[in-house]
Symmetry: C2
Subunit: 427 residues, 2 copies
C-alpha cells in the first residue's frame, strides 16, 4: 500500500485505509458513492509521477488509482481526436497517434511513465508546449465522476464550442479536487514530417538567453527550446562524458520542424555568441542532441535527493530569473541545478539535498522561498506545469490573493460539498 501512497516527492504520506484499482467508470462511481456515504477522503492518482505532492495519500483515505483504465476508446484520424481512459500512458497515446501520421503534443518529461489522467489533473506541459500549448490546449471534453458518484460529460468532440461555462478547463489542473476524470476527448495534431535540432554551448548565461530571444523574435517557431545550466551540464558530463568544455556555462537545445538546412540552420545562426554549435543532419543525430536534455533529471538524481521546482516568468525575465537562482544558491550554500523550457520562460530549479534526510533542510526551503518570491516579483508564477499539490500551498496566497482563494473555496464547495476529494491539496 505504501507505493500507492506517494508520488515522486519526498512529501511524507498519510496512512490510507485502502487502495482501489479501478478498471472501469463503474468502479469509480461505486468508490465515490461509498466514500460520500461514509465521508471518507478519496485521493485519485495516475502513475504517481507528480512533483508537488498532489497524489500523496492523506490519513484514512481511499487511494483511487486510475492506472488500470488504459483503453484508447477511439482514435479518429479524420477528426484528429482520441477518446482515452485516464490510465493511458502519455507516450503510448502519442505512439498510437503516430501510426496515423498524427501526434499527441503534450510531452511532460515523464511522458514515458506518466498517465493522461495525471497530465489532465496537473495541466502538464512539456518540451513541445512552446509550440503546441499545454495539456489544457489538447483537452476538448471530459467524462468526470463527481464526488457523489454522478457522471458528468463536459466539452465536446469539436474543435470549438462555447455552450455553457468552461467546465473542461475547470477540471484540467484542479488536481483531483473537483472530480475524477474517467475519459477524455483529446485533440491530436499532424506529426511533423521532419525535425531538425540545434545544440549550442555558451560561455555566458546571458548570451544563451539572448539567443532564445533572437530565435523567438525571428519567428522560428521552435517546437522545443531548452536551456541547461552549468550545474546540470556538469552532472550530465560527469555521468555520460558528453565532452563538455570547462568554460561552458549554458547550453541551448532547440528543435524545429522542417529540413535542417532551413529551420535549424537559421536557429544556429541566431546563436551568434555560442562557443560551439551542432546542427543535426540525420534523425539519429537530432535524437542524440535531444537525448542530452532527457538526461538532465536522471543526472541530477545521481547527486542527491531533489526538490524539483517549477517557476515560470515572462520570457524577457528569463536571464534575471536564472541569475537570481544562481545567486540564491551561492548565498545559501545550496546546490541548485536548473533546466528551463526557455521558450516558455518555465524554469525548473532543482534543489539537491542529502539522500539521508527525510525532507529538504531549512536552507533549501529558505532558498526556494527566495526563488518563489523572485519569480512572483518578475511577474511570474509559482508553478508553470507541475501544480501546487501540497508542497507549494504555503506560497499560494502570495500569488492568488484572498479574493481568488475565496472563489476557489466556493467552487470546491459546489463540486465537492463534503470535501472528500483530495482534501488539503491545490487550493
Amino acid at each position: 500500500m505504501d507505493a500507492y501512497a506517494r508520488d515522486r516527492t519526498f512529501a511524507p504520506p498519510g496512512k490510507p485505509l485502502g487502495v482501489v484499482l479501478a478498471q472501469s467508470r463503474d468502479d469509480v462511481v461505486a468508490t465515490l458513492r461509498w466514500a460520500s456515504a461514509h465521508r471518507v477522503p478519496v485521493v485519485p492518482r495516475g502513475a504517481g509521477t507528480g512533483l508537488a505532492g498532489g497524489a500523496t495519500a492523506v490519513d484514512g483515505c481511499v487511494v483511487l488509482s486510475l492506472a488500470r483504465m488504459t483503453a484508447i476508446r477511439e482514435l479518429s484520424p479524420q477528426d484528429e481526436i482520441a477518446v482515452v481512459e485516464p490510465g493511458v500512458i502519455t507516450a503510448d497515446l502519442d505512439r498510437a497517434a503516430r501510426a496515423h501520421g498524427l501526434m499527441y503534443a503534450p510531452d511532460p518529461s515523464s511522458y514515458e511513465i506518466s498517465t493522461i489522467g495525471g497530465n489532465l489533473a496537473t495541466n502538464a506541459g512539456g518540451l513541445r508546449c512552446v509550440k503546441y500549448g499545454v495539456t489544457r490546449d489538447s483537452a476538448l471534453g471530459l467524462e468526470v465522476v463527481l464526488a457523489d458518484g454522478r457522471v458528468l460529460t463536459t466539452g465536446r468532440r469539436t474543435m470549438k464550442g462555447v455552450t455553457g461555462y468552461d467546465l473542461t478547463g475547470l477540471f484540467v489542473g484542479s488536481e483531483g479536487t473537483l472530480g475524477v476524470i474517467t475519459a477524455a476527448t483529446l485533440r491530436l495534431r499532424r506529426a511533423p514530417r521532419e525535425l531538425s535540432t540545434v545544440a549550442a554551448e555558451f560561455t555566458s548565461l546571458r548570451d544563451a538567453a539572448e539567443a532564445v530571444a533572437a530565435i523567438i523574435a525571428e519567428g522560428c517557431q521552435p517546437s522545443m527550446l531548452e536551456l541547461l545550466d552549468r550545474t546540470t551540464l556538469r552532472a550530465i558530463d560527469d555521468w555520460k562524458n558528453i565532452g563538455l568544455e570547462p568554460s561552458t556555462r549554458a547550453m541551448l537545445i532547440a528543435q524545429a520542424e522542417g529540413p535542417a538546412e532551413e529551420s535549424a540552420a537559421r536557429m544556429a545562426e541566431l546563436c551568434a555568441a555560442a562557443s560551439f554549435v551542432a546542427v543535426s543532419s540525420t534523425p539519429e543525430e537530432a535524437a542524440e542532441l535531444v537525448g542530452i536534455r532527457r538526461l538532465a533529471y536522471p543526472a541530477k538524481e545521481r547527486l542527491g535527493q531533489c526538490l524539483v521546482e517549477d517557476v515560470c516568468v515572462p520570457r524577457s525575465a528569463l536571464p534575471e530569473m536564472i541569475t537570481t537562482i544562481e545567486e540564491t544558491a551561492a548565498r545559501h550554500g545550496v546546490l541548485i541545478s536548473t533546466v528551463a523550457h526557455a521558450g516558455d520562460g518555465n524554469v525548473h530549479p532543482v534543489f539537491v539535498f542529502d539522500r539521508g534526510l527525510a525532507e529538504p533542510p531549512p536552507e533549501v526551503w529558505a532558498a526556494a522561498d527566495e526563488v518563489f518570491r523572485a519569480a512572483l516579483a518578475l511577474g511570474g508564477t509559482l508553478t508553470g506545469e507541475h501544480g501546487v499539490g501540497l508542497l507549494k500551498k504555503r506560497w499560494l496566497g502570495l500569488e492568488t490573493g484572498p479574493v481568488a482563494a475565496e472563489l476557489h473555496q466556493g467552487i470546491k464547495q459546489v463540486f465537492d460539498p463534503l470535501d472528500i476529494l483530495n482534501p488539503g491539496k491545490a487550493i
Copy 2:
C-alpha cells in the same frame, strides 16, 4: 438609450433604467457596488455586435458599457503580450501589434467593430482560429470586477501557469454572468511575413468538403479555410458580380503562411475536383480573394433579416451537416445561406426572413430546431463561437444535460449570489 439595449439580434430588449458609460475600473466598481446594494440587474456590453442576445437589456437593468475603456495599457514585443482594456476594438489591437511584427490572432468576422471585452465574454472565434485557436487561447489573465464590486486578478503574464483553478477560462465565454472584465493580458503571436490564398469553385458540395479533408490531412496548416455555399455565393454575385459560374455549388477560400508557390500551390493541387482554382500571386490578389469571404454577411443582409446560427460539428461530419441544412431549408421553404469555418467544422447557417417581421416566423424556428438537433446528433455543439445568450437557451439542456446545468447554477451562485449580472443569459 434604445441603441444600448440591443445587440445585433432581433431579440426584443427590455427597458433599462439607464446606461453607464464606464471610463475606468473605478466606474465599474461604483456601478456594481450600487447595483448590489439596490439589487439592480447589470447587463455589461462591448460594441453590441453579438449574435445571440447576450447583451440585450432586461427590464429595469443598468446597461454597463465598457466601450469607452479603450486603452492599450501595455504592449510588450519581447514577451509577446498586450494588456488592454475591454473597449479596445479587436482589429485596433491587431494593428497595434503588427507595428511590432506581431499580431492578435482571434479575428471574428466583426473584428473591425467588435471589442476585446465582447470577444472575451463570448470566447469569440474567427477565420484564423483554424490555426491559432479561439479567444480563450490568447487570454493569459484578466482583471475582473465581481458582482459585489471587489476586484479580482486571474491568470498571469506568463505563457504557462497552473496555480489555482482556471478562473481565466471560467470568465472567458461566461457572457457577463460571472463578473465584468476591466482588463485582459493577451497573448500576441508573430505575424506571418507572407500569406498566400487559394479560391476554388466546386460543382458539388461533397467535392469541396473532400478538398477540406485533403488539405487538413496533408498537414497544410491553413490559417483560414472557409466554405461558402451556393446561396451565399449567389447573394454576393448578385450584388458585386464576381463572375460566378451558374454550375458552382460551393467555394473554398484557403489561406496559408509562406510563399504561394509552396503552400497555396499545394492546397490548389488538393482541390483536384474543383471546376476553377485561383491562386494569389500578389498580396493584393490575396486580399481580393479573402474579400469575397468578407462580403458574405453584408450580401446576406441585403436579402432580408438574418438569424445567424453557429453550430459546430466534428470536421468529418461537415458534408452531412451542410447537406442536412440544405434539405431542411427545402423542406421548410426557408432561405438558408451558409458559410463555414470549414477547417473547424464551424457552420454558420443564416436563416433569412422578411424584413417586416419583428422576429423569425415559426418555419424559421422549426428549421433552426432541426439544424440544432442534427448538429448535436452528429457529435456537435449548438454554438462554436457566438455564445448561448438568449436565443439558444431553449436548446441548451439538450447539449449540457441536467448535471452540468446544476453545476452552472452553483458556480453562478458563488460569483453572483444576488443574480444581478446579466440575469437570464447563457446558462
